[in-house]
């Protein structure tokens, strides 16, 4: 956890700064940073959703679907939590693994580049 974060509301700038630092993209133009954050965030959201939906029993789908249809989002979320008690953990794990995967992929490429440069 970021030690700079205390018991207070986190400003968007701070959140963004943390993300930028974590992804090691501070040297890129701001527009790039924004684009990267947006893309990664979107993909992570999808991963998290998928991870959760994998755990939802199929016989709950009708009920949950009905709640979605009715626009009862809070109830829908509660219904999912009921059948998947550790839903939040599942999603957070999926997101963390996504971030880790991103880091691994990036680092592999950086490593390959550095090795290539060294070889030359």
């Amino acid at each position: 956890m970021n030690p700079n974060i205390t018991n207070r509301v986190v400003s968007p700038e701070e959140v963004k700064k943390m993300i930028v630092e974590a992804l090691n993209i501070g040297h890129l133009p701001v527009t790039d940073q924004d684009s990267i954050i947006g893309e990664l965030a979107g993909t992570l959201m999808e991963r998290a959703t998928l991870a959760l939906l994998k755990e939802v029993p199929e016989d709950e789908f009708d009920k949950i679907d009905a709640l979605v249809d009715a626009g009862k989002d809070a109830e829908m979320v509660e219904a999912i939590r009921k059948v998947v008690p550790n839903a939040q953990q599942i999603m957070e794990d999926a997101i963390r693994s996504g971030v880790e995967e991103y880091k691994i992929l990036v680092n592999e490429q950086v490593k390959a580049r550095l090795e290539g440069a060294a070889a030359r």
Binding site: V10, P12, P29, D32, G42, V77
Partner: protein
């Protein structure tokens, strides 16, 4: 340049222009970031203008119209609907005509302003420093200098007339510097700046577009040099026109329906291309002169590339910091894996039941925003009003250690507002009482735009809305979460079949999914009508049925297909139609795709399997005969045999890494492994892999890629129509950028910065290795091979062999 005297109040006109901009912004507000930036730039400029007659005002007038053209052109690129395209084209032509029309200047009985500067030599030094412009003898006191056929903007002409009436000499900036006639169709896609406007700052919104770095490295310059810049821009404009014409010629070539037509179109295309290349050469020569003080064009471009990669805003870039390209590659890989996983879950969850598949897809489309924001942030109360992007950022921040409960709605809402221009009206975590309805609407739109719509590739749906009752019906189904419609929409994006045809493919897609194929394969499959119709129609449906029992080997139905249909020997000898893995299945699909180019001759004509089989067999016989003839008449071409080297497609994360789902999609990193077989060029190619490595790593500017590829192919003795086609296809990625086609993408992947047609392509150092090891480029090239109506299937095979070989060499690095 002398400023024109202040005129009467033009606030009304400015207001109208601003209103026009607002309309544009409202209409295309969700466009690419680049366009948004341009709109903002223009709006900013407009706000600062007090006199439309000033040079800045004139530029503003022109640029607003040019931007409008570009926005319309953006829209045109997005839609495949002919009616909509025709309408957009008409609008573009109308504006273009307005821009290009040479309004007569009536003062003192003057003649209409004619282009007097159509020559390739720099303007004389007494041309009032307007860069290549002449004092028109037909209109004393008025300077114009445009590319052929261009004229003055009517409003500017009117202003000029008024000023001339007051007795003042009038100097008018060229408006045709970038070839307004076709500037919207060019490759560069930016707002032009006139030759009289150089110099311009090296960074910032005012930077003119261009193929060289010529516009970035100068301060105030002497007249002669300024004239040289004018000439540069003139040639640059002509080149834009030539590029556009070459593209049109190529499109015409691709659309040619018979051999005679193809020959004619090919000749036209070659002429256009030659013209384009000649202009490019001219422009580069001028750029060399301009950039001589900086060590020449090449050196300046390299310097620019270095500068572009410099740390942003004073931050230091550590050697191990990723480039934008590397980051984008990683993002692409993660996206691909996520999609593959989604496909897998659909198959698993459905268990063969269409009902559950429908439910599941419905959930995927409709839940993400509410779920993730609710779950990841632990704040259910405002989940509904969150955007997908805010949710994702919340998730990302949470994973990085930001306590979920501390992420207020205000924080979440304003991040996307700052990073994506998506405003979510929250104030301190509480929605204003009057806002909920608006917020819900905005959130719904944002979720649709940023979440499932983008993710599942529904953009095409918008186009379909113009297609009448079918689209309406489909859209209605979409709205109620109908899985059939969802899949229709998804696959329609990559299929060129008519809507009703696409809809027929859905059961086959399901069959293939349940048969063990992945979404990646399906995407591949769905590109090929022949594959869909020949394979999935018969075997996919069977697989679907069998899938209910969970028993389908990936290779089984391919094998059955092979056994049931007469296939050419080269297909069998590939050894790919065996029972086994998905990879083998993919290989088989690759082979089958070769038939795709011929699909239109039979697909859609059959009524039952018997007729289909007969037609297929007849067609195959014809193809074999054609192949035999090709061999006879083209001994220099490599014989048609399946590629000997398998595709390198392994990516194993380090053991200490968290579990990563195995992705069937093409991984971004393909490294050589000790077990990898040696690279063998296709039989008949007279080149050694080392030679390929040497050539393929030869770095240069992006425009040298096509000639570099030509040299490479020449060294491989790969010539003829197929080779020309490949060069052209790669050429397209350099001039137009696939990013233009997809909204963003390839060019962004190829460079260390976002795709920006004003700067890309020339100032980027790339080499063939970049191209042939780039997933997006390879996917693009593969798609082009698949969809080409120019190449015969034998040529497709040849091109595919070459591309696969180059890809292997490139991916194996040095």
């Amino acid at each position: 340049m002398r400023q024109s005297p202040p005129g009467p109040d033009n606030a009304t006109e400015i207001a109208q222009l601003r209103a026009q901009l607002k309309t544009i912004r409202d209409t295309v507000g969700s466009g690419s970031g680049e366009r948004r930036d341009q709109i903002r730039d223009l709006a900013r400029r407009g706000a600062a203008i007090s006199d439309l007659r000033s040079p800045e005002g004139q530029r503003f007038l022109r640029d607003s119209r040019v931007l409008e053209i570009r926005l319309l052109n953006d829209e045109m690129r997005k839609t495949s609907d002919r009616t909509a395209r025709a309408r957009l084209l008409e609008e573009i032509r109308s504006i273009d005509a307005e821009l290009s029309s040479a309004s007569p200047i009536s003062t003192s009985g003057q003649q209409p302003v004619q282009d007097q500067a159509v020559n390739s030599s720099p303007a004389p030094a007494d041309t009032q420093s307007t860069g290549g412009q002449h004092r028109s003898p037909a209109s004393p006191g008025i300077l114009d200098g445009n590319t052929p056929g261009d004229g003055l903007h009517p409003q500017i002409a009117k202003l000029a007339e008024e000023i001339a009436k007051r007795g003042g000499p009038v100097i008018i900036n060229s408006i045709g510097d970038v070839g307004s006639k076709n500037s919207y169709g060019g490759s560069s896609g930016s707002m032009p700046q006139g030759p009289a406007h150089v110099p311009t700052p090296p960074h910032g919104s005012e930077k003119p577009h261009g193929h060289d770095a010529a516009h970035t490295k100068h301060e105030a310059m002497p007249q002669a040099k300024e004239a040289m810049h004018g000439e540069y821009w003139r040639i640059n404009g002509l080149e834009d026109i030539a590029i556009s014409e070459a593209n049109k010629a190529f499109a015409a070539l691709e659309a040619a329906t018979n051999e005679n037509d193809r020959v004619q179109k090919l000749a036209a295309y070659k002429t256009a291309r030659t013209k384009r290349e000649a202009l490019a050469q001219q422009r580069r020569a001028i750029a060399d002169q301009i950039l001589a003080p900086y060590g020449g064009r090449e050196a300046a471009m390299r310097q620019m590339a270095r500068e572009e990669n410099q740390p942003h805003a004073g931050t230091e870039r550590a050697p191990n910091a990723p480039t934008a390209t590397e980051v984008q590659n990683a993002l692409g890989a993660i996206r691909g894996r996520t999609k593959a996983e989604a496909a897998r879950i659909v198959a698993v969850k459905s268990g063969g039941s269409e009902k559950w598949t429908r439910r599941f897809l419905s959930a995927l489309v409709r839940w993400p925003s509410a779920l993730v924001s609710g779950m990841a942030t632990g704040a259910v109360g405002y989940s509904f009003a969150q955007t997908g992007l805010a949710s994702g950022i919340a998730s990302l921040a949470t994973s990085l250690g930001v306590p979920a409960s501390w992420l207020t709605a205000g924080a979440l809402g304003s991040i996307p507002a700052t990073i994506g221009g998506v405003a979510v009206p929250f104030v301190g975590g509480m929605m204003l009482p009057a806002v909920p309805v608006v917020a819900a609407a905005l959130a719904g739109m944002a979720v649709w735009q940023l979440g499932p719509r983008k993710w599942l590739g529904f953009k095409k749906l918008d186009d379909w809305m113009d297609k009448g009752w079918q689209a309406k019906k489909l859209y209605k189904k979409m709205r109620v979460g109908d899985s059939q419609a969802i899949l229709d929409a998804k696959y329609a994006k990559i299929s060129s079949r008519p809507t009703w045809r696409r809809m027929q493919t859905i059961p086959r897609i399901f069959g293939a999914l349940l048969g063990g194929m992945t979404m990646h394969d399906l995407v591949t499959l769905s590109k090929g009508g022949s594959v869909q119709d020949l394979v999935l129609r018969k075997k996919g449906l069977e697989a679907y049925e069998l899938g209910k029992r969970g028993v389908i080997g990936a290779g089984n139905w391919i094998t059955e297909f092979w056994n049931n249909f007469k296939m050419p020997e080269w297909f069998k000898s590939g050894g790919v139609v065996e029972q086994g893995t998905v990879v083998e299945c993919k290989e088989a699909v690759t082979r089958l795709k070769l038939l795709e180019g011929e699909r239109d001759s039979f697909v859609g004509l059959y009524k039952d399997d018997t007729e289909l089989i007969n037609r297929l067999n007849n067609r195959i016989a014809a193809l074999e005969e054609q192949l035999a003839k090709t061999k006879e008449i083209s001994p220099q071409l490599p014989p048609v045999t399946p590629p000997s080297a398998p595709t390198i497609e392994t990516h194993t994360p380090p053991s200490e890494s968290p579990p990563v789902e195995k992705a069937p999609a093409r991984p971004p990193v393909s490294e050589p492994t000790p077990a990898s077989p040696p690279i063998e060029p296709p039989t008949g190619l007279r080149v050694k892999p080392e030679q390929l490595s040497f050539v393929i790593n030869e770095g240069s500017d992006i425009r040298s890629v096509p000639p570099g590829l030509r040299r490479l192919l020449d060294s491989m003795q790969f010539k003829g129509r197929a080779a020309e086609w490949l060069i052209d296809t790669i050429d397209k990625t350099t001039y137009n950028g696939i990013g233009v086609r997809d909204g963003r993408g390839v060019m962004q992947l190829l460079t260390d910065r976002p795709f920006d047609p004003r700067r890309v392509p020339d100032d980027t150092i790339v080499n063939l290795k970049n191209y042939f090891s780039n997933n997006a480029v390879m996917n693009y090239v593969q798609a082009q091979i698949d969809n080409s109506r120019v190449l015969t299937y034998a040529e497709k095979l040849q091109v595919r062999q070459i591309v696969e070989l180059l890809e292997q060499v490139a991916r194996r690095g040095n």
